[in-house]
Assembly symmetry: C2
Homo-oligomer: 195 residues x 2
């Protein structure tokens, strides 16, 4: 048994938002779905007991592309060759918006859905990981939001109940890929809690 582990009882969902996010200049845009975001984040989500990994993008051609990739790994030959990958892709779901994501989660749970936004930017509103971990045992259902491109738009952050502090190491550099950031945030919140 992993001595590092300390498991939470909550229903945990994550969403990777492609719209509305901001670009380098701060303009609100819709970003493209990437293959590795599907694979790496599905594998991390499955590892940390996430119930559903929502890939949020309103563009029809993007959803068709992502749907084909997901199908290859769930119903297609990919899943036959690699059953572990099939298991990971089994929790991936496509939605048009954060609102549709919340509707789908509410159909699965009678608990209040608490939205936790993440950001690589400092904010006075941010909770530290320690503060967030103190709150988690009291929450039955949590949806963690991750932004692609240059991050979640203010509109999305304003919809959240909580905003989590950026991930930093020993220095000021905080430019992790979203794939790495999702995994570290899940690891910090779901395991590693020795209190």
């Amino acid at each position: 048994m992993n001595a590092w582990a300390c498991f939470l009882k909550m229903d945990l969902y994550i969403a990777l938002i492609h719209h509305p996010v901001v670009n380098k200049k701060g303009d609100v845009i819709c970003s493209a779905i990437t293959n590795l975001d599907l694979h790496d984040i599905a594998r991390a989500a499955r590892t940390y007991g996430v119930k559903g990994y929502y890939v949020v993008n309103p563009l029809e051609d993007q959803k068709i592309l992502a749907g084909q990739i997901i199908k290859h790994w769930t119903d297609g030959s990919g899943g036959t060759v690699n059953p572990a990958r099939k298991e990971a892709f089994g929790i991936v779901r496509l939605t048009d918006s954060l609102e549709e994501t919340l509707e789908q989660i509410r159909q699965e749970t009678s608990s209040q859905v608490h939205i936790v936004a993440t950001s690589a930017r400092e904010s006075e509103k941010s909770l530290s990981f320690a503060e967030m971990k103190e709150k988690l045992p009291h929450l039955d259902c949590v949806l963690l939001l991750f932004g692609t491109a240059w991050g979640l738009s203010d509109e999305v952050i304003d919809m959240a109940d909580y905003l989590l502090e950026p991930i930093t190491g020993p220095g000021e550099y905080n430019h992790l890929s979203v794939r790495s950031a999702v995994t570290v945030i899940l690891d910090r919140l779901v395991t590693g809690c020795r209190s």
Copy 2:
């Protein structure tokens, strides 16, 4: 200041091994370098204060390809457009073997280089993260080894001073991408140490 942080004084290096690693059947192979392993792992390494990220592959064509990618982000237009990525790629180094990697590190340090292998497979020899974290303050220089494909060969694991336990979440599923695994292991070892 991030309340989560607790910084180690050691010189930390990482190596992503493409040979010798094993395939699905357990045969020793040489795997291919992938673009995202360069990007995501360089960004994670830079975030957590790693001094050098070694990409280990003996194949000349693979090293040429990786060298072109690295150059694009250090000396080329990629680095001009994205200075944060330039900074991450500044610590990436190409070597033929673990032996050459050790030689290069020894040219930078007068300390003993302690090799820590990682694996997704359980082993009686594995140290838990808690045990490894107790040792780290006493080590001046550490090289963490990560395997591509189906993991490091026994030959490489036997060369290591320590073997770290696999990353697990609440369940048995432990199929993180190497990109995610590197980031979580760095986060667990470099930060998050509240003892």
